[in-house]
């Protein structure tokens, strides 16, 4: 079974600064997807960024980028130029491609607070 670990329950960052959220996972699979989701107080789950394991290039989406280290099974999220609207719970998630039923396995989350 796959496990996803987020070792930072809470983090804070000043507005306009950069913050990195950590995520590690454990799997014996070679083909899989990794995701970062954001859950603001509205509780809506919002996809932030996605990484295919077969791609060496790190995914980027505007101010959001990842550092994907497949050998180390690490998948950190970097948020640049942090904004107040980035305040949310961030979940790292794993999905295996073969025989996984397309199910997402989530980490325990990191509560990010962006401060003035």
């Amino acid at each position: 079974a796959q496990t996803v670990t987020q070792s930072q329950p809470e983090m804070s960052v000043q507005e306009a600064e950069t913050v990195t959220l950590s995520c590690t996972y454990d799997t014996s699979e070679n083909n899989y997807y990794l995701f970062w989701y954001k859950q603001p107080p509205s509780r809506q789950m919002i996809l932030v960024i996605r990484q295919e394991a077969y791609k060496q290039q790190n995914a980027t989406e505007n101010r959001f980028s990842v550092n994907f280290q497949k050998a180390a099974k690490s998948f950190s999220l970097k948020i640049s130029d942090s904004q107040l609207g980035d305040t949310a719970m961030y979940f790292c998630a794993f999905m295996k491609l073969a025989g996984g039923g397309n199910k997402l396995t989530f980490g325990t989350g990191t509560q990010l607070k962006v401060e003035l």
Partner: protein, 114 residues
């Protein structure tokens, strides 16, 4: 990407009663997923619902407690039966939006059992 309408958004229920949560998707999808998020916790998959077949339940979840319907490719319901305070959680449905595995979630149902 797919848009999901989930309702109710919240409810307060008496123990021993049942609540049915609905999810309507604006496009046809093969699989729908139901998750539970207990207070301050992460999301845990309850079951996967395919149209025309029985839902597949994860370990720790049973059909008698969480019956699921999937009458067509755009709609599904999850019922929380014989509720107890331990069932107080946020329940979310999710579908694969189809764009290279970008999953879309409903807005969630916040259930409080008293």
């Amino acid at each position: 990407s797919a848009v999901i309408s989930q309702k109710p958004s919240r409810d307060i229920c008496q123990r021993g009663t049942s609540l049915t949560i609905q999810c309507q998707v604006d496009s046809q999808v093969t699989m729908m997923f139901w998750y539970r998020q207990q207070p301050g916790q992460s999301l845990t998959l309850i079951a996967t619902a395919n149209q025309g077949s029985e839902a597949t339940y994860e370990s720790g979840f049973v059909i008698d407690k969480f019956p699921i319907s999937r009458p067509n490719l755009t709609f599904s319901t999850l019922t929380v039966s014989n509720m107890s305070p331990e069932d107080s959680s946020i329940y979310l449905c999710s579908v694969d939006s189809g764009k290279n595995y970008g999953y879309t979630f409903g807005s969630g149902t916040r259930l409080t059992v008293v």
